[in-house]
């Protein structure tokens, strides 16, 4: 019984992250808030964590451990891992604007601690209804 309930809970979680409910007759858009929230921008990158970063542009060489063909998850995971508890200010800025079917979003991981100043992240466009990020829209932001 408990195992059965766990299975149902897991399938509900997978269905939620997978986007609109298939076959339910009333598909729910992946992004339901209007305007979209910071949480929506973060849910979008988590849902698309396996998408490979484009080559030949702003994302070349951005992975913190020099993984070949890194994904969104590799890239953002690397910088999130740098936010180990320490004095200073660390945070994540996330936002989306635009129409539900064509959202313009940005997620930036930031740190400011004296001489340690950095901000790295992603700009992308996404279909807020399906929850899919458009791979050709990905731009890796950051300097230093």
């Amino acid at each position: 019984m408990v195992q059965g309930m766990r299975a149902i809970a897991v399938s509900m979680l997978v269905a939620t992250l997978a986007g609109p409910a298939a076959g339910s007759g009333q598909a729910q858009p992946f992004v339901q808030s209007t305007p979209p929230t910071a949480k929506d921008a973060l849910r979008l990158v988590m849902r698309n964590a396996g998408v490979t970063l484009p080559r030949g542009g702003s994302c070349d060489g951005v992975d913190t451990t020099e993984i070949e063909n890194p994904t969104i998850g590799d890239y953002l995971g690397g910088f999130l891992a740098e936010l180990a508890p320490a004095p200073g200010v660390s945070g994540i800025a996330a936002s989306c604007t635009g129409e539900p079917a064509d959202l313009a979003c940005e997620v930036t991981i930031q740190r400011d601690a004296g001489d340690e100043v950095w901000a790295w992240g992603l700009r992308f466009r996404a279909d807020g209804i399906t929850g899919d990020i458009r791979p050709d829209s990905l731009e890796c932001t950051g300097a230093g």
Partner: protein
């Protein structure tokens, strides 16, 4: 290629250096300053990131490191003007000529006994001795931080230091 006097950058905020408006104080502008001073526009630049009509300058330390014809430990640096890089030693693979894109890395221009670099905490360019530069980043990045040199990439401006005009 031109000759650039670093003294002219002394005390400047990046907003007075970059003509493309890439000047957020939340960013690390060390490579950005170096590449404006040396007129290096390869890879990911302020112009690509922001648009604008100013001259383009690369923004990233690891891309700049890879463009230096010769790189090595600071103790092995050749005479003359070189780039001064600092990061944890484990982030640099000298044989492969690469530096990992960790956030804690920094670069300046070593010329005439001083390292000219962008102080992100103060939002201005200034010069400091090698020992001050090294000790400042050992505090910021940890004791494993080490200095590396890079010879100037092809096409760099030539660098001088003298009285500001």
């Amino acid at each position: 290629m031109a000759a650039v006097n670093l003294t002219g950058f002394d005390g400047l905020d990046i907003k007075n250096i970059c003509g493309n408006g890439y000047d957020s104080p939340t960013e690390n502008h060390c490579a950005h300053f170096v590449c404006h001073a040396l007129d290096l526009d390869f890879g990911y630049t302020c112009k690509k990131a922001k648009g604008g009509s100013g001259s383009a300058a690369n923004l990233r330390v690891h891309e700049l490191f890879a463009k230096c014809p010769k790189v090595g430990k600071w103790a092995d640096k050749p005479p003359g003007v070189v780039l001064a890089f600092v990061t944890a030693a484990g982030n640099v693979q000298l044989a492969a000529h690469t530096m990992s894109n960790v956030p804690n890395k920094h670069v300046g221009i070593f010329c005439d006994l001083f390292i000219w670099n962008y102080h992100n905490s103060l939002d201005k360019v200034s010069k400091e001795t090698v020992s001050n530069f090294e000790s400042r980043f050992k505090i910021a990045y940890g004791k494993s931080a080490a200095l590396f040199f890079g010879t100037l990439p092809p096409g760099s401006n030539t660098v001088t230091v003298g009285p500001a005009v």
